[in-house]
């Protein structure tokens, strides 16, 4: 049951291995989601991205939403890692790991959490191209998934 915001990259296998070690009574489902930095935006090659973080608010808000989602989906365990700082294409940005008795609980928790993070967690992405840099715009499609 952890929320980690960190600069350094993480290794998926290592995280799932640590996560699996803790004993969960009657665990029936594990869902993992990893978001990765893409190589292109439309047709433009991305050289790297920078993620800015308002840490105090991100921690406060994320803990609040997770508290609600834990209750709503009655999950057994979770791990959230979200990176900030400089990230290269192909590297991991975010990891969500969830464990529950039934599959719909883990799927619901992880999807609702990532939907929420996209429009409410105080992280901002900037993409660096060969000729310029641009702050990423929030997607209208993501905004629609979250009420208020």
């Amino acid at each position: 049951m952890k929320v980690i915001f960190q600069k350094q990259n993480f290794v998926i296998e290592k995280q799932i291995s640590l996560f699996s070690k803790t004993n969960k009574i009657n665990e029936g489902a594990i869902v993992l989601f990893v978001g990765k930095a893409r190589h292109k935006y439309k047709d433009k090659k991305i050289l790297s991205i920078d993620i800015e973080l308002y840490e105090k608010m991100a921690i406060f808000q994320t803990k609040k939403i997770i508290k609600n989602l834990k209750k709503k989906y009655n999950i057994l365990d979770y791990l959230l890692i979200h990176r900030f700082g400089k990230i290269k294409p192909g590297e991991n940005i975010i990891l969500i790991l969830v464990s529950s008795e039934h599959r719909k609980q883990s799927f619901g928790f992880s999807e609702e959490l990532i939907d929420w993070l996209k429009v409410k967690a105080t992280f901002w992405k900037k993409e660096h191209f060969s000729k310029n840099s641009k702050w990423v715009s929030q997607k209208e499609s993501d905004r629609k998934l979250i009420k208020t």
Binding site: M57, I94, K125, Q138
Partner: protein, 82 residues
């Protein structure tokens, strides 16, 4: 009161935070209007960047909310986490 700026707003204003003094309480939009009148950088930044979000002490609020000297106000463009 501390005001924090993030992302494109921070870049446009040219700094990450301000500390201002207010008497009693003020609405967020009043504070922004005063900043805009005080300096063309603020005026450009607050005019150019759309859909700004406001948070007082880490809670999302709208710009009609009141703040006092003890609060931490954060102003930023829509987030793009995840």
């Amino acid at each position: 009161m501390k005001i924090l700026y993030f992302a494109s707003l921070k870049e446009s204003i040219g700094k990450r935070e301000d500390t201002i003094q207010i008497d009693g309480k003020k609405k967020i939009y009043q504070i922004i209007d005063e900043l805009k009148n005080s300096d063309s950088n603020y005026n450009t930044a607050f005019t150019k960047i759309k859909n700004l979000q406001y948070a007082v002490n880490c809670e999302y609020v709208n710009k009609n909310s009141f703040v006092t000297n003890k609060d931490e106000l954060a102003i930023f463009p829509p987030v793009t986490g995840g």
